[in-house]
């Protein structure tokens, strides 16, 4: 069943899009992540132009994250004050990121840049995930015990100005590190079309030293608003949010997320995580192959400059 995507200016199989939405939604329900870091590259791999894939991927992230945020908020797991500080950095970062994106598009290099970003980030993340879970599996085989966590080390945080008390996180730290973290994730969010939760969560724990109970909720808080900002700016300044594409992905995603959330408790952590890591690596390799292979059409017709 082919549908025409008005902004991407191409026809795609609607069932394929529903399927991708469902698969990514399933993973996001399972792991409680937005899933943008898989959705956007998958869209690029099926031939959607990178600008459209990035803008629509960010939009899909909002759908998955809002329901998660509501659930976490009700349970009191959102540090709103920390969220606002992160968000301040996030707004600046994502707004700058969209400008960068628009600039790259004018230069005609946006496809290359997005693919390159993804290869680097997904490659790193995938490798870390696989390494972490393989280690955990080996350790379990040997001793039967769980891994011991690293202790919080955040002495360098205490030397910075503009200190603020974050009661929910039980922290008294400078606002500079969280704002910088938010800024970095904001740029990634704008250029890659991801929510950024998969990098924000470890950053909050290991860099900021936040307690894990509020980390997921607070990261969702940041993700929802930053992704909304990205979608709005992309639609306004770059004009690449494809509503047909987004609706199909969201429809699949909502169904998949319900399914994944129900299955979440029944699967073994390490193995599933290793599979997710391998999937991330496979997507990175697919994009890397797209960067280095000789294109089918060596010449393309573009608008006159």
């Amino acid at each position: 069943m082919q549908v025409y995507l008005p902004i991407a200016e191409m026809s795609v199989d609607a069932l394929l899009l529903l399927g991708i939405g469902f698969g990514v939604g399933w993973l996001s329900g399972l792991f409680g992540v937005g899933g943008g870091f898989l959705l956007t590259p998958l869209l690029i791999l099926i031939g959607i132009p990178a600008p459209v894939a990035v803008a629509s991927g960010a939009n899909q992230t909002i759908g998955a994250s809002v329901s998660g945020l509501i659930a976490q908020w009700r349970r009191g797991n959102v540090d709103a004050r920390m969220g606002v500080v992160l968000l301040a950095g996030g707004f600046v970062g994502s707004s700058l990121g969209v400008q960068l994106f628009a600039l790259l598009r004018r230069l005609g290099q946006v496809d290359l840049a997005v693919a390159f970003f993804y290869v680097v980030v997904l490659g790193t993340v995938g490798l870390l995930m696989v390494r972490e879970s393989v280690r955990a599996i080996i350790r379990r085989r040997r001793t039967g015990g769980a891994a011991s966590p690293k202790a919080h080390e955040h002495t360098w945080l205490h030397g910075m100005p503009f200190k603020m008390r974050f009661r929910k996180s039980r922290l008294y730290i400078s606002v500079v590190p969280p704002a910088l973290v938010g800024f970095g994730i904001g740029i990634l969010s704008a250029v890659m079309g991801v929510g950024g939760g998969f990098m924000l969560v470890p950053a909050m724990i290991y860099l900021l030293g936040m307690p894990t109970s509020v980390v997921i909720g607070t990261s969702l808080f940041q993700v929802v608003f930053v992704a909304a900002n990205v979608t709005l700016l992309q639609a306004w300044q770059v004009g690449t949010v494809d509503i047909v594409l987004t609706m199909l992905l969201l429809a699949g995603g909502v169904a998949g997320a319900q399914f994944g959330a129900a299955m979440g408790t029944k699967l073994r952590g390490e193995e599933t995580r290793a599979l997710l890591g391998l999937l991330v690596l496979a997507v990175a390799l697919g994009l890397a192959w797209g960067l280095i292979r000789a294109p089918d059409n060596l010449f393309a017709i573009g608008p006159a400059r």
Binding site: F31, E132, A146, V201, P202, T212, I216, L267, G269
Partner: protein, 168 residues
């Protein structure tokens, strides 16, 4: 008669050995169940056991984060139980048995009762108001009543300290 003396001694020993199990959840009526169990233990002999069930961590994309979450929840439960243990010690003069399990409260409670024959009475408090007595009481008096292996005492959540003092 020496026989009856022996059985009387055995009876007091059993009285001292009996254990009141209180489930520590986040409901306000928990304090009433705990106080009731403490008063019973002080006046009639016996010990108090506290069970805290920690919610398991679901899948998180980073294994290290998941392990840290588990660790933190456990620590929090330990802190909470040791706070309550001091309270129990004040009333009964002895420290309670502290048990931390991971899973859903109902299943872990039933499993513990099956595994630990020392526990003799389960003490639960009922939530006041029209919202029902609370999920555990509802489950254990309804569908799961057949799996209960010890007697259960239900304390009305509306009782205050004086009333509890009077009846124990």
């Amino acid at each position: 008669m020496p026989g009856s003396e022996e059985s009387a001694a055995a009876a007091t020993a059993a009285k001292r050995d009996r254990i009141f199990l209180v489930v520590v959840d986040d409901s306000p009526e928990r304090a009433i169940a705990l106080r009731y169990a403490c008063l019973r233990a002080r006046k009639g002999g016996g010990r108090v056991a506290l069970l805290r069930v920690v919610e398991p961590v679901g899948l998180v994309e980073w294994a290290g984060v998941g392990v840290m979450m588990q660790e933190e929840r456990r620590e929090e439960a330990e802190k909470m139980l040791s706070g309550l243990a001091a309270e129990v010690n004040e009333i009964t003069g002895g420290f309670p048995i502290l048990i931390i399990r991971e899973g859903t409260p109902r299943d872990e409670l039933l499993k513990l009762l099956e595994e630990d024959p020392r526990i003799s009475i389960l003490v639960l408090a009922m939530a006041p108001g029209s919202g029902g007595p609370g999920p555990l009481v509802t489950a254990l008096t309804g569908r799961y009543s057949g799996r209960l292996t010890v007697p259960m005492t239900l304390v009305p959540g509306t009782m205050d300290e004086k009333e509890l003092d009077r009846i124990t």
